[in-house]
């Protein structure tokens, strides 16, 4: 008796590819619900007084951090509209590029018609080596840690940096990066700074104990869905919305395949039992 065949991986991949192509060619505009934690972060940013300094920084792997970008880009738009100020502090060689990417994509600079002026409303600092050592030093003394901005201009010549000396001047630390744990450990744990992450889904599991250890001080959204929610709160449609479309289809495929796999296993076991009896 012929046994039920196992599906070849290539066939499964082909189905998955088709499911990715459908929304890429024809966006579905799948609806999604809002979650409390995303609204909480939005409200927190809304509640900050004008001119508050927000730091965006941490250790980064750009390709992974792309998952944090929908929420971060939307948040940058919100910050610019609220007249908050931003300083970036990259702790990974890719983080500086990532910060520039987010700010460019948010179109908040005056060169894109946005309200922010470089040096006054936002400053991009260059990559600083040393990981957690650099972070500790930065929290204690900005001037001792960083001397030049990304354009090679001494930071004491930038108006914004004259108001920013240590962790005491930071209203919120935004970390759209994989390296959020260090921000919690040092910025929140040691200095009491509120930290927020548009956490990547793969990292949420790792970050969650730290979030629970500092209730009311650490906030994070979950993956692309969280990013799409923030996009909606700010009123834009970006990568978050695109991924929600694909995810809607993939989230049907995977459970269906798990069920199919189990049916195949049960049928094959029964067939083997029959064969054994014969």
């Amino acid at each position: 008796m012929a046994k039920i065949p196992e599906l070849k991986s290539q066939y499964i991949w082909l189905v998955a590819l088709i499911l990715f192509l459908i929304p890429a060619v024809n966006p579905l505009g799948a609806p999604f619900a809002m979650s409390d934690v995303t609204v909480k972060i939005y409200d927190l940013m809304q509640s900050l007084p004008e001119k508050s300094i927000v730091v965006m920084g941490g250790a980064s792997v750009f390709a992974f951090d792309i998952e944090s970008s929908p929420g971060m880009i939307a948040c940058l738009k919100q910050m610019a509209a609220r007249h908050l100020r931003l300083v970036t502090f990259p702790l990974g060689t890719e983080a500086a590029q990532y910060h520039k990417f987010c700010i460019d994509a948010a179109r908040v600079d005056q060169k894109y018609g946005g309200p922010w002026k470089y040096g006054v409303d936002y400053v991009l600092l260059p990559y600083t080596p040393g990981g957690s050592a650099a972070l500790i030093s930065f929290l204690k003394s900005v001037e001792a840690t960083v001397t030049l901005d990304i354009n090679g201009v001494p930071i004491n010549q930038l108006p914004l940096m004259r108001d920013f000396h240590s962790y005491k001047d930071i209203a919120v630390w935004m970390c759209p990066h994989w390296g959020f744990i260090d921000i919690i450990r040092y910025a929140t744990g040691e200095c009491g700074v509120i930290s927020v992450s548009f956490a990547q889904s793969a990292a949420y599991a790792t970050f969650s104990p730290y979030m629970m250890a500092y209730p009311g001080k650490v906030y994070m959204t979950n993956g692309y869905v969280g990013g799409a929610q923030y996009e909606r709160l700010v009123g834009i449609k970006g990568l978050g919305h695109k991924v929600v479309d694909s995810y809607s289809l993939i989230s049907v495929l995977i459970p269906a395949l798990i069920i199919l796999g189990n049916i195949t296993m049960i049928v094959r076991m029964k067939e083997e039992e029959v064969e054994a009896k014969e």
Binding site: Q10, W13, L17, F20, L21, P23, A24, V25, N26, P27, A63, F64, I66, E67, T93, E94, A96, P126, Y127, T128, P129, S132, A133, I136, V146, T147, L148, G152, D182, I184, R185, Y186, G189, E190, Q200, S201, A202, Y204, A205, P209, Y210, M212, A213, Y214, P215, N222, G223, Y224, V225, L239, K242, V243, D245, S246, Y247, I250, S251, I254
Partner: protein, 211 residues
């Protein structure tokens, strides 16, 4: 309409070559992979040069003359890659290990150990009051943390009548960890889906002009 931007063409071709991995090892994938390696190394060198300028700017201006010491130690640290001269990097490595160890120890004790242990105790408040879902959640947090922590105890093996209850707790711990793996892997699918969406959109949307 198909893009005329050469950068989009380059990135689309690299993406397709990279996707060819699904058919197994091949020359196109090797090309993409080699380009990836080269870009990683190239970027780290370019960043390194700019960072050197920034880090030693105070030495150049004479504001911090003592930075000559880390400059020498830094140059010596490069010798780590030559087995014969690796000993020259000993002090530089020792400095990085020493400072790094101290920094990580203070964070680990404060956040990973004490703050998390306090959080477990503090969650008792959530067990005693709140919505049923929150109460159950807090109870699960406390029980699962204790059980999973006990699961990671390897050399204290209770004997006699207490052995069974302790072994049950370890079983609960084991299933807590399996639950962690299940939930975490389910949640992770968002990230992979997102990256695949981004890569496919680059080919279909930006390059071919659909969508």
């Amino acid at each position: 309409m198909i893009s005329t931007d050469p950068w989009i063409w380059l990135s689309a071709l690299l993406s397709i070559s990279c996707f060819s991995l699904l058919y197994g090892d091949n020359k196109a994938f090797r090309w993409a992979e080699t380009t990836y390696t080269a870009s990683v190394i190239g970027h780290s060198v370019v960043t390194g040069l700019v960072t050197l300028r920034d880090r030693f700017y105070p030495l150049y201006t004479g504001a911090q003359p003592q930075y000559i010491v880390p400059l020498i130690l830094g140059i010596l640290s490069i010798f780590i890659v030559w087995r014969k001269y690796a000993w020259l990097a000993t002090i530089s490595m020792a400095l990085m290990i020493g400072v790094g160890t101290g920094i990580s120890m203070r964070a680990l004790i404060a956040t990973d150990i004490i703050a998390n242990t306090r959080a477990v105790i503090g969650e008792t408040a959530g067990i005693l009051k709140g919505s049923p879902a929150d109460q159950l959640g807090n109870l699960i947090r406390v029980v699962f943390t204790i059980a999973a922590l006990w699961y990671f105890v390897f050399t204290l093996i209770p004997k006699g009548p207490t052995a069974k209850p302790f072994s049950w707790i370890q079983t609960i711990g084991k299933y807590a960890l399996i639950a962690y793996i299940g939930v975490a892997v389910g949640n992770t699918m968002q990230q992979f889906t997102g990256c695949a969406t981004s890569a496919i959109y680059r080919i279909v949307g930006l390059w071919l002009g659909f969508g």
